[in-house]
């Protein structure tokens, strides 16, 4: 004898893929209209009060504000230079951060030197904050290395291309900080697309269970290549955290001050032994996914235009101007500095030598490996055979 199900037959559902179509507006609430979005500067550059987060930027001086502005402008200039270097054939590829300057500079400037950063492949602004020479970032896009800087030089890990992987490295690193009894923190960057990867969920689990001092900083730029965020989630991403036992917050990712405040709060939690935090910076990828991408295939110009009105740099400029924190000299000097940066980067890239052929065999292992030695020797003999033919 079995108990019959009481659930009566209902009309047939339409195919599953359709039912989420209507969610578009939910997941894409425009900044400013979402009560849950932390915002300290409106798109018009007006400073709005926030009971919870104001204290984290209470001490920010006009000079510091100008510093944030300068960071964003120089980062954007660097990014534009890289894009044009790609067009000139000097780089094989470039992943532009255009539009995400506030999210990166705001969070990057919240960090202490002893904190550690795990970036994706798009955190050029954070690298800038860490003091990584921007030309170093170009090596992998030029194809001369796979990320050549010393991660421990500036506590800025290498770019990670396999989506989501670095969130686990960040968690492990943070577990190590806790073991050491230090009060440093870790910040792990990832995208809205990455939020779907199992590794990211596992990093949430590990960091929560071990109460690791890590800030998960998700730049929701609305797109994972051609897929809008609705292909990854049907509720706002910051909400993901609570089911793992730690807080999540959505911040206006085009508001550098809000990003600074919220990241400071999250870092403070980490330092105080309160464990992980998820920050969702709600922003927009103004450009293509990379220089290989063609966004006209999948998104409308109007969307981009709407976001242009919320430009992170323009917003802070308006604020600086209406607050009389600047004079024309500042902007003019910055313009010159930008141009100089562009020139320096251009020259550095063009001068970047191709790696030695034997680099293939270098660093495969730290302690050596007989087969690598054997193949290196064969390669050398093979190369020499041409030299013989040609030269002798």
């Amino acid at each position: 004898m079995t108990v019959e199900s009481t659930a009566a037959r209902k009309p047939r559902r339409s195919a599953g893929t359709k039912s989420t179509a209507g969610k578009r507006t939910t997941a894409r609430n425009a900044p400013g209209t979402d009560p849950e979005l932390v915002q300290l500067l409106t798109p018009e550059g007006q400073r709005v009060k926030n009971a919870e987060y104001d204290k984290y930027v209470a001490g920010v001086t006009p000079e510091e504000l100008r510093g944030l502005y300068r960071d964003m402008v120089l980062t954007r200039r660097f990014d534009a230079e890289a894009t044009s270097l790609q067009r000139q054939g000097e780089l094989g590829l470039w992943a532009s951060l255009l539009g995400q300057e506030a999210a990166q500079i705001g969070s990057g400037r919240a960090l202490r030197d002893d904190d550690y950063v795990f970036p994706t492949y798009r955190e050029h602004g954070v690298a800038w904050c860490r003091g990584v020479d921007p030309t170093n970032l170009l090596g992998m896009f030029r194809g001369v290395n796979n990320g050549g800087w010393d991660p421990n030089g500036n506590n800025f890990h290498l770019y990670t291309i396999v989506i989501g992987s670095q969130t686990l490295h960040a968690t492990g690193y943070a577990m190590g900080i806790a073991k050491d009894g230090a009060d440093s923190a870790v910040i792990a960057y990832f995208g809205d697309g990455a939020s779907s990867q199992g590794d990211v969920a596992e990093s949430f689990t590990f960091s929560a269970v071990y109460n690791a001092p890590v800030v998960f900083f998700c730049q929701n730029n609305q797109w994972a290549i051609s897929e809008p965020t609705e292909r990854q989630t049907r509720v706002p991403l910051y909400q993901r955290a609570q089911g793992f036992g730690f807080p999540g917050v959505r911040v206006d990712g085009n508001d550098v001050l809000a990003c600074l405040a919220v990241t400071r709060w999250a870092l403070e939690r980490a330092r105080n032994g309160e464990g992980p935090t998820l920050v969702e910076a709600y922003t927009y990828r103004m450009g293509a996914h990379t220089t290989s991408d063609d966004p006209t295939k999948y998104r409308a110009d109007e969307e981009r235009e709407a976001w242009e009105a919320k430009d992170p740099i323009l917003r802070l400029r308006r604020h600086l101007e209406t607050s009389n924190h600047t004079d024309d000299g500042f902007f003019a000097e910055l313009e010159d500095e930008s141009e100089a940066l562009g020139r320096r980067v251009r020259e550095a890239v063009r001068a970047m030598p191709d790696p030695d052929h034997f680099a293939i065999f270098e660093n495969v292992y730290a302690d050596g490996h007989a087969l690598v030695d054997e193949e290196r020797a064969q390669f050398a003999a093979y190369q020499a055979s041409f030299a013989d033919e040609g030269g002798n």
Binding site: G92, V162, S196
Partner: protein, 333 residues
């Protein structure tokens, strides 16, 4: 189909387009066929292999998935259990590893585990190999890691016609097929006869006949081997080129037949030589042809090193000179 047909139904098209047409035909013919993956919809995939398919077949047949490869393959398994025939795309070779567990422990073993009760007609499409100047993880050749796993079939076409027909056959197969697409040949054109009756999916084909030595390759390296055979011909050496087409199973009978004729074999692949396909071919052919071989089976492939940055890939990848060097060494025995 190494030979090309010039029938009325024959068209010249790029390899990527041939796969696109093949997917289109499968979607048209069998309502159970699905195309799934990251960016396969509006964008048509980063290589445009699925271009236009979502537009014509709708979002419920051509499915943009969340960014999670284990989820893609895992849900494809579930769809197959429900009677669908999913063709899933892994965006690049280096991104198949998050799905490796589902492929190896579930997809490959489900048929055996169920004592044959459950079929797994899933095709996993993987653009693979180097030579396109890409960043890390975008140029690898991991076919060994699938061929070693029982329950999977592993194939790789070298030309447009094979791409079209092998995809048809892979989709029709009730076994999971890992379909490695030679991405650097995506833009190479070839004649495709959409009416021709194709050869068996797992049979090798003689791409060029020869008598002095056999070059065996698959996917992107077939073209290189044909070039090498051309160059060698100018020096009076007659090389036979075998397009293996299938890595699991390997068509040892065809290799053996060729080697019994030429008595020398060089295997060429982009994947690292160490534990690569060349090892398996060398071991088994040496056993089968011990008294026929005049020289050891030589292997040309990648080094035991991570795929290098783009500016080094020419040195890393087998090129014309390295193939000819191996040919010379084999002929010198």
């Amino acid at each position: 189909m190494a030979e090309t047909f010039k029938a009325e139904t024959s068209t010249s098209m790029a390899l990527a387009k041939a796969i696109n047409e093949s997917l289109r035909r499968a979607l048209e013919t069998d309502p159970k066929v699905l195309v799934m993956g990251e960016d396969v919809g509006k964008l048509g995939g980063v290589f445009r292999v699925t271009d236009g398919l979502q537009k014509d077949f709708g979002e419920s047949r051509v499915i943009d998935t969340p960014l999670a490869e284990s989820g893609i393959v895992g849900t494809a398994i579930g769809l197959a259990l429900r009677g669908y025939r999913p063709v899933v795309e892994i965006q690049f070779d280096g991104f198949v590893f998050p799905a490796y567990d589902q492929i190896v422990t579930q997809l490959a073993k489900m048929h055996a585990r169920s004592l044959g009760k459950v079929k797994m007609p899933v095709v996993v499409r993987i653009p693979y190999g180097g030579g396109i100047g890409a960043v890390e993880h975008h140029s690898e050749s991991p076919e060994s890691l699938f061929a070693h796993v029982a329950g999977l079939k592993v194939v790789s076409p070298s030309n447009a016609s094979d791409a079209y027909w092998m995809m048809q056959q892979a989709i029709q197969s009730d076994d999971p097929v890992i379909f490695f697409e030679p991405k650097r040949r995506y833009w190479d054109k070839g004649e495709v006869n959409t009416e021709a009756i194709p050869g068996e999916l797992h049979k090798a084909q003689v791409a060029r006949e020869g008598t002095d030595l056999t070059l065996a390759a698959y996917g992107p390296m077939v073209k290189l081997c044909l070039e090498a055979a051309n160059a060698a011909a100018e020096e009076g050496k007659s090389l036979e080129v075998l397009d293996l087409r299938s890595v699991s199973p390997l068509d040892f009978d065809s290799i053996q037949a060729s080697v019994e004729k030429t008595r020398r074999l060089v295997v060429v692949h982009e994947a690292p030589v160490f534990f690569g396909s060349g090892a398996e071919i060398a071991a088994r052919i040496t056993e089968r042809c011990f008294y026929h071989l005049e020289a050891p089976v030589l292997r040309v492939g990648g080094y035991h090193a991570p795929y290098p940055p783009a500016r080094l890939e020419e040195e890393y990848l087998p090129g014309l000179d390295r193939v000819l060097d191996a040919v010379d060494r084999a002929l010198a025995y």
